[in-house]
């Protein structure tokens, strides 16, 4: 039985009285890839935002339940050091949006926030993370140019590098390839595959084939008007894609629903 990085118990997120999702119970095992799939509007991205507590401090949202990180409750925890927690939880969003500055500064800003490094160490770290995401050869001569000049795929890899440079324990990815063309998607997917061995990854995706290719575990979200989003089924990727237990899951995987 694998150790769990996140343990989620009876989690419910509401805006006012309207539930976004409710009754979520889920364990996310360490050093494995968990894919969250389901139709639009069922609360997958909101759920992901709860894991790094991005949504919980916004006053209009109300979060009930328990999110444990390495057996420590992190929501409603005043003792939690938010900055160091977020350093360990890398996040990649749907839209590749590097900061409006140079490629180097995109990486050095988070690095300088969390570590005190000499200039040479900082440069080494930037070079190594850009090599890890396969960008170094493409941009080494224009590292001091604007990050906005990069292509969509390059921007998304830079956003990945921006999170990876902080040595996170987990990577949360919210449809990281949805804004990319097939070739860029392939590059980013290959990178996620490479990271699988050393990181826990949680990926939200609409692409079922991508979920099948990347994930060890699959969580299927569904939606009804009264309770908002909820988990209809979860399990190992192999089992869920070959013999799902629920009819809705079967129909969804077949493309007849959602």
């Amino acid at each position: 039985m694998a150790d769990n990085l996140f343990e989620i118990q009876d989690l419910c997120l509401c805006i006012g009285n309207k539930p976004i999702f409710s009754g979520i119970n889920l364990n996310i095992p360490k050093n494995q890839t968990t894919a969250i799939i389901g139709p639009s509007g069922c609360g997958k991205s909101s759920f992901l935002s709860c894991l790094n507590l991005l949504i919980t401090h916004i006053s209009k949202y109300r979060l009930v339940g328990k999110i444990c990180w390495n057996n420590n409750k992190i929501n409603d925890n005043n003792d939690l050091d938010m900055h160091s927690f977020r350093r360990k939880v890398g996040t990649v969003f749907q839209q590749p949006m590097p900061f409006p500055t140079t490629i180097r500064k995109n990486l050095s800003i988070p690095l300088r926030q969390h570590f005190r490094l000499k200039r040479s160490e900082e440069n080494d770290r930037i070079e190594s993370v850009l090599k890890e995401v396969g960008l170094w050869e493409e941009i080494r001569h224009r590292i001091d140019h604007s990050a906005n000049d990069l292509s969509g795929g390059q921007k998304q890899r830079l956003c990945l590098a921006r999170a990876l440079i902080l040595n996170p324990d987990v990577m949360l990815m919210d449809e990281p390839c949805s804004a990319l063309d097939p070739i860029s998607t392939q590059t980013v997917e290959a990178l996620i595959q490479k990271l699988k061995s050393k990181l826990t990854t949680v990926i939200v995706t609409h692409n079922l084939q991508q979920a099948k290719r990347l994930a060890d575990h699959i969580v299927v979200f569904w939606f009804d008007v009264q309770s908002g989003g909820y988990i209809i089924e979860s399990g190992s990727s192999e089992k869920l894609f070959s013999s799902p237990e629920e009819d809705i899951t079967r129909s969804y995987l077949r493309g007849a629903l959602g």
Partner: protein, 284 residues
């Protein structure tokens, strides 16, 4: 039926009206600037720029007036930018949610932006000159101008901060960046072009202002030795020469020429500086 015959004429008519509007605007600009250049340029020399005024401003130069203008302008800009930036950030709700109690304050800022400058002059006279004991001084004038410019600058910066994509802020928060880092390293570089706009608006309004300064910085035409000295700006000098001094029109035109050149020069320098700053910050 008639509309069918008229339809082919609509586009040429629209084009004609458009062109006439553009020509009218350009003509007014050329007329004003041309008149100032025509009357002012031939008589400009180094003595006028670097000399001191005499005979109530009819003769001599305008060095003290230029110096006072630069000082008042610098005080107004330095006092405006930090307050406008923080007020704009506060109302934009990008980094900190705005409590409903503070929402009506936005309306006050809007109203303040439309208050006539003479009212700011009266306020500056009462508060800075009398209550704080600064008297008629460059400092009183600069701070009064800052109060006058602040609401407009804050509004422009609020809109600028609001237009920053949420992904920049949430991306920064997701990386565990402090709010100050997000503000200084991500948000400020994003709004640099708007900062240029504010810079230019501040300069334009400060150089053109007379009403607010008549009550606060005073009329004195000698070299200012400190910020607590009274000093007149170029626009007050023009007003005084053309309205109060018989035979002062020639020097008024020369001063107006200097004012226009100064405005163009400062705008150009502001553009160049911000462009370089943007390039440094955003990358080549």
């Amino acid at each position: 039926m008639l509309s069918l015959y008229l339809r082919p004429m609509i586009n040429p008519c629209f084009q004609g009206v458009k062109l006439a509007s553009v020509l009218a605007v350009v003509a007014v600009f050329i007329w004003i600037v041309g008149d100032i250049f025509w009357q002012g340029l031939p008589k400009i020399n180094a003595d006028f720029l670097f000399g001191t005024p005499s005979n109530a401003g009819r003769d001599g130069g305008i060095r003290p007036v230029i110096l006072s203008t630069i000082y008042i302008l610098a005080i107004a800009i330095l006092a405006t930018l930090p307050f406008a930036t923080l007020t704009g950030l506060f109302f934009s709700e990008k980094l900190f949610p705005l409590s409903p109690i503070f929402r009506p304050l936005q309306r006050f800022v809007d109203i303040l932006a439309g208050v006539p400058s003479v009212v700011f002059g009266l306020f500056g006279n009462t508060y800075f000159c009398n209550y704080l004991g600064m008297g008629y001084s460059i400092l009183s004038g600069g701070l009064t101008l800052a109060c006058m410019i602040l609401p407009l600058a804050a509004k422009i910066l609020q809109n600028a901060f609001s237009s920053i994509p949420n992904e920049y802020v949430s991306g920064g928060e997701a990386l565990g960046l402090s709010k100050f880092t997000i503000f200084s390293k991500i948000m400020i570089p994003s709004v640099l072009p708007q900062v240029t706009a504010i810079y230019i608006i501040c300069i334009g309004r400060a150089l053109a202002e007379t009403a607010a300064l008549l009550f606060t910085s005073g009329y004195v035409m000698r070299d200012p030795e400190s910020l607590f000295d009274s000093g007149r700006t170029l626009s007050i000098h023009i007003y005084d020469l053309s309205m109060n001094i018989t035979g002062g029109n020639a020097n008024a035109y020369k001063t107006a020429f200097v004012l226009v050149i100064m405005l163009l020069l400062i705008n150009y320098i502001a553009h160049i500086t911000i462009r370089k700053w943007t390039r440094l910050s955003h990358g080549r």
